[in-house]
Symmetry: C2
Subunit: 331 residues, 2 copies
Amino acid sequence: MADVAQLAGVSSQTVSRVSNGFPGVTEDTRAQVLAAMRELGYRPNSAARALRRGEFRTLGVITFSLSTMGNIRTLEAIATSAAEHGYAVTLLPVAVPTQDEVNGAFSRLGELAVDAVIVIMEIHLLDAATVSLPPGVQVVVADSDAGDRYTVVDTDQAGGARDAVRHLLDLGHDTVWHLAGPEGSFAAQRRANAWRTTLTGAGRTPPPLVRGDWSAASGYRAGLLLADEPECTAVFAANDQMALGLLRALHERGRRVPDDISVVGFDDIPESASFLPPLTTIHQDFAEVGRLCVEGVLSKMRQDGVEHGTTTLVPTRLVRRASTAAPRPGR
Amino acid sequence: MADVAQLAGVSSQTVSRVSNGFPGVTEDTRAQVLAAMRELGYRPNSAARALRRGEFRTLGVITFSLSTMGNIRTLEAIATSAAEHGYAVTLLPVAVPTQDEVNGAFSRLGELAVDAVIVIMEIHLLDAATVSLPPGVQVVVADSDAGDRYTVVDTDQAGGARDAVRHLLDLGHDTVWHLAGPEGSFAAQRRANAWRTTLTGAGRTPPPLVRGDWSAASGYRAGLLLADEPECTAVFAANDQMALGLLRALHERGRRVPDDISVVGFDDIPESASFLPPLTTIHQDFAEVGRLCVEGVLSKMRQDGVEHGTTTLVPTRLVRRASTAAPRPGR
DNA sequence: CTAGGCAATGTTTACGTAAACATCCACTGG
DNA sequence: CCAGTGGATGTTTACGTAAACATTGCCTAG
């Protein structure tokens, strides 16, 4: 910076003003400084800048692996949205979702150059962890059910599940079976709860719940069971991958979709439009979730307010494809 | 830090030594300092540290959206591997893969707190861009064909494609059709080239090449064409998504897989084991690619050497599933 | 014509850390 | 008993930036 100042014949402070786009610099001076910057290939040193300003213009994102498409899309939206606000995004992968690992990530975070944190993770892993965060670092949680301890942004899981079940009931099915996600997952839990209450709310009896682990393989195993249930004409799978495995099992067992059984998924992954048959599913707006995470955390930073427990739900949308139809009147 | 020093009754330099695990501090003193740190909730300021040390312990990753599973898995491996080396990872999303956008990302990078850069991107977008990088910032490129200008780590695309084609020939197919990725992609290009040379090398005539855009929808369209080719008994799709669309089209047209037509994919995405039928495909080791990217860039930083053009290929593995079989003798 | 005001620019300083150098002290060997 | 040695700790300084304050000089109103 001193070199630039000397070359341009001004003080370093003027260089700083130009570099930060501050007013109070003549057009001529500004041009001269810019020319000197270019000539010397000057780049502001972000470490010094951060030290002086007391902020890094960086958000940390903690996520338990990038295994699910939803987390990835959310992450991408976070990165894009952060960039629009002039913030960079630093990734903190957590290899295994154990309390120890999460604690480790948080303590690494403490030494990291980060102004705020977005956590994409089930909340129960978080509870004991936040204590080790430096004071003043705000946290927003996605993909979780945080109650009043954190600010949360998430897809409206319950609303989506309700729409899925209603869609099948509207088509004329007596009841809807549910292929749920793993017990430990709040998303799975909320989808299952909404499935149950929607059914009972409509005066139907919920069939026994079938459980998978989000993977297509588990959906396949579940499908082999469901294929043998003669009463089953409609299934709501808690995600598209399990729906994929389900479709394969039903096909192998000679149960036609949607003629014999209708299937609805959740997520609307890009591939689901090409399943056999194309999958009716609940579309999640991950981009919006990511955007709201960033805006939420930035606004928390600005206000410095400590309002806890705001929860923002992002609505879903039912995408109708060929995997659902009215039950055959014959049966 | 000064507070900690005072509380522990030592100088700030001793605190620094403890904080960095340097030798030359008595066990007693160290314990006292650590106690003071805990009591005051001291965290080293990473901005000041970076300023003083001249390094950020951070790697930048530039990638054109996280749209493909491969990029995502590579990114994840990079983040994990970087963490093991004590480095953080900062994400630089590029919204649209235009020269302007890439240039923008690189110039933002210039002001970013980053010691080195890993680029997950087709190389041709890179050519004009690197000039704006600060000197001394090393670059490693993944998912690309960079010749001698950059250090490259990538999957052995050609080897994988060769294995796919040979597998089909070994099963007894006369020739193999190819559903290629978009023209702009080097990965697609290399897979297509290897397909062609493997066929001609085995004395077969390559059928006309069919082109998709990586998406399942494009695979579906291509499948509708291929279903009408009576000569076609084996298809090598350049990725699993297109193979998925292909399977749907063939199924709709009544061509059975693998009885009438064998299909091989590329990538081995998690879902491919649950396709109808489960897909034979080429498994890519993205984790290894990511790991090698990190190691490569770190070793380049250490040596400060300017050896250009090292290319490391990560081998693939053929995963045999139900979508391939010998051609029916009848026909 | 001059005081006052304001815009443009310069000077000083502090941010938190760690390298380089300085100091202190206990112990060893002659 | 003393010089020498080396380990433990303290002191000084610089990293690059930007806020706060200081200075300059020009313009305008009275």
